[in-house]
């Protein structure tokens, strides 16, 4: 699992929970909230889908780590790599 793969998995999730958003030009280092219309319900869904699809747990204290695509990759890639 590379950081790029990880970003792609996150984008896949966002495209399913917010199919009305244009995800073709997301800037990885800008907060997702600032370039897409995502609210706290949508962020909960990103967390829930990570668990459902990939068995990755994100405790609520770490939600801030999911702010941008870059920070998602930074935070999640080791979790993917640690999976058996």
């Amino acid at each position: 699992m590379t950081k790029d793969n990880c970003k792609k998995l996150v984008i896949d999730i966002i495209s399913d929970i917010a199919p009305d958003e244009d995800l073709s030009a997301i800037k990885p280092d800008v907060r997702l909230r600032d370039q897409l219309q995502l609210d706290s319900m949508d962020f909960l869904d990103i967390v829930m889908e990570l668990r459902k699809r990939h068995g990755i747990e994100v405790p609520e204290a770490d939600y801030a780590q999911l702010a941008s695509l870059e920070s998602c990759a930074e935070y999640l890639t080791p979790k993917f790599q640690a999976k058996p």
């Binding site: 399913d16 199919p19 219309q37 609210d39 319900m41 829930m48 668990r51 459902k52 747990e57 609520e60």
Partner: protein, 476 residues
């Protein structure tokens, strides 16, 4: 039947219960919805009689916005339930009317139409109307912990003309207020946005389209559903809902219980009983609705412009329990033919009239009197409503009439279990859904998000807040 354990048990298969079930099952919770009736939908359901399909509840779906407008309740709902917009097949209204004795305000799904109407007919109130709009737009109406305040008081800071005040309140109250004469301001904001800032739409086939989509999602998500099997008792042990006794005598246990059947209705199921809490927060507002089916399109009689008409002929609009069986001074006309179905239309003309009623005056009548009173008030309500439509000869309508039906407060009680036939439930809403039992929550009408979009969002919010968020290790 085999007794069993669920992560979550949901009481009631109305819009909110179905939505909660979809959310929870989608994320792997073992969920079952228990519904006493044989049809899902709750207060927004459907039935067939004499080969004809009828909707109950839904006149129009509120909160309608065009595709591409984000951040509104409809958009949130579609996302949260993974529903594609086109699945609901929503067709927007043409226009609607607030028709009082000497003044009418037209509104559409474009708020600037109503802005102009207010500015033209109430020029002295135009600035206040703008300020009220700003107040509503910036109010956080989805907060689960907001302090209650009187909508009358807040509106009075901006609007001083009593006629305009009544005209603004009339649709907002008719489409969602559980309180007589006033509303909690948060509730007012939800309805103001849902009706005026957003708008009306419906699928050409009515509410069954919405329910079909929800049932389909529910199945895909793997949620169980037991129809004709309500929950008879909630057994309390150590401050929790420990067991649920079902109508069929079976017992189940659940980690969480979400009840959509109403606050007082839920309290009455609890053992030990919570009757006094129930009594202190029981709604009294109920309605009758008449339905007339014609073999002509309403447009042929000049009734083709308005989708919904909110009418009132008294000096001050009074939203309160009717003193007689029905209060025909005000009401709501729905003409489902008058939506923009893109060239198509319903095969028959439908004319629905809703008026405030009095549960006690309907509840205990002998069958013969009940039927006679229904016929009498059917005629009275229709006649009162027709004063706000272009005149058509009685004989012409009579000749075109194919069928009629009517629901009363008694019908509502029978099919939904709502005490007093109170469609909008308890006057005081429980926004965070909490009850005296730590794992029993309320969603739906008595949680307080209104309209059918609101009801679904209520189920979603309570499922998210009390079950899903907690499951990600949140310390509360």
């Amino acid at each position: 039947m085999k007794d069993s354990h669920y992560d979550v048990a949901i009481i009631g298969a109305g819009m909110s219960g179905l939505a909660a079930g979809i959310r929870l099952a989608h994320f792997g919770q073992k969920v079952c919805i228990f519904e006493r009736h044989n049809t899902p939908g709750g207060l927004n359901s459907f039935y067939s009689t004499a080969g004809r399909k009828y909707d109950v509840g839904l006149h129009a779906m509120t909160n309608y916005v065009a595709a591409g407008i984000k951040g509104t309740p409809l958009g949130k709902l579609l996302r949260q339930l993974r529903i594609e917009r086109k699945e609901f097949a929503l067709c927007p209204q043409k226009q609607s009317l607030i028709a009082f004795r000497d003044c009418a305000l037209r509104f559409t799904n474009d708020i600037t139409v109503l802005d102009t109407e207010v500015a033209t007919k109430f020029p002295a109130q135009a600035a206040g109307w703008r300020r009220l709009g700003q107040t509503v737009r910036t109010y956080d109406d989805v907060s689960l912990d907001a302090k209650p305040q009187s909508a009358r008081e807040v509106v009075a800071r901006h609007i001083t003309d009593p006629l305009l005040t009544d005209m603004i309140f009339c649709p907002v109250m008719y489409y969602g207020s559980a309180q007589e004469r006033d509303m909690e301001f948060g509730q007012f904001v939800i309805m103001f946005k849902a009706l005026y800032l957003e708008g009306f739409a419906r699928p050409i086939e009515g509410v069954r389209v919405v329910i079909r989509v929800l049932l389909d999602k529910l199945r895909t998500a793997g949620c169980e559903r037991r129809m004709k099997c309500g929950v008879a008792r909630i057994i309390e042990e150590q401050g929790k809902a420990a067991r649920l006794v079902l109508d069929d005598g079976g017992e189940i246990t659940a980690g969480h219980v979400i009840s959509s059947i109403g606050f007082a209705e839920t309290m009455k199921l609890c053992e030990p009983s919570h009757d006094s809490a129930a009594g202190a927060n029981t709604g009294a507002l109920t309605f009758v609705e008449t339905i007339s089916i014609y073999n002509r399109q309403p447009a042929e009689w000049g009734w083709g412009d308005d989708s919904i008409i909110f009418f009132n002929d008294s000096d001050r609009f009074e939203y309160a329990r009717a003193k007689e069986q029905v209060d025909i001074r005000s009401g709501v006309i729905c003409l489902p033919n008058n939506f923009d179905y893109g060239g198509a239309n319903l095969p028959e003309g439908i004319f629905r009239v809703t008026c405030l009623a009095n549960y006690d005056r309907w509840a205990h009548l002998p069958e013969e009197t009940y039927q006679a009173d229904k016929r009498r008030w059917f005629a009275e309500a229709s006649r009162s409503a027709r004063r706000f439509l272009p005149p058509v000869d009685d004989a012409v309508l009579e000749k075109a009439l194919l069928a009629t039906d009517m629901f009363t407060p008694r019908t509502i009680k029978k099919f939904t279990g709502h005490i007093n036939g109170a469609i909008y439930g308890a006057p005081n809403k429980i926004r965070n859904g909490r009850t005296h039992l730590s794992n029993l929550y309320l969603c739906g009408t008595d949680q307080g998000f209104l309209g059918i979009v609101g009801a679904m969002l209520s189920g979603i919010s309570i499922a998210n807040y009390h079950v899903l968020q907690g499951s990600t290790g949140r310390a509360r």
